[in-house]
């Protein structure tokens, strides 16, 4: 995700509006490596801005996703998670507590697209998910 400052300009250039609710969400996401769910974001915004609605959180996250500013992670079976780090990286998820951590190793030189995939798909990228149990949960 860009900085909040740049993001502000990006929104305006798209004819979108910069509201205090959105600013708060942007600030919460900026440099956030905790892979929050919509509810996580909601709770944190609510502390400072008690009247926010879930609707606004969902709509804003959708907007950010559509702008390519955050990546929607489909890793946890229970809920979606949001990652403001849109650079190539991967994840480990603990099967017990569902906490997600980043894996910054670059596997791209090792993970070659198989022929059949190349022939039948226009691949935009790949994601490696490591499954396991974290030390806290062991």
């Amino acid at each position: 995700m860009e900085t909040v400052e740049k993001l502000t300009k990006t929104l305006r250039s798209h004819g979108m509006k910069v509201t205090p609710q959105r600013l708060m969400i942007f600030r919460i996401l900026e440099n956030n490596t905790s892979h929050p769910s919509a509810e996580d974001v909601y709770k944190r915004v609510k502390k400072i801005y008690p009247t926010v609605s879930f609707t606004t959180i969902y709509k804003t996250l959708e907007t950010l996703r559509d702008l390519g500013e955050v990546r929607e992670l489909i890793i946890d079976e229970d809920r979606k998670h949001y990652d403001p780090n849109i650079t190539n990286h991967h994840h480990v998820i603990c099967s017990t507590c569902k906490k997600i951590h980043d894996v910054f190793e670059d596997f791209s030189s090792h993970v070659k697209l198989p022929d059949f995939v190349q022939e039948n798909y226009t691949v935009s990228g790949f994601q490696i998910t490591f499954y396991g149990t974290c030390t806290m949960c062991t």
Copy 2:
């Protein structure tokens, strides 16, 4: 997944029962590479066994998952998919039609667990998901 025949024995040895509904579900899953959702399975069972309930489908898929006979795929944001092939392999998903295909390349020798993951997690495995658009949807 084992063959329907073996699966029958496995269930019995666990004090579980082999019902016609379950048999039908097993047969639908056997050698199935289409990564069906619960609804896909439901529709197919319903054709032959019109009184089945969704509950039975869900419960049976849960049972098979708990027995390690099928793998639950968290890849499609809309629904879970089930894969009777529990050997190590990966997937491509089309962002448009959501169809999932197998990728049988073995990347295990190339995807080394990063130190930090090894230290903090007991990793059971990893899954590579390729994202893209299939030729049908282009």
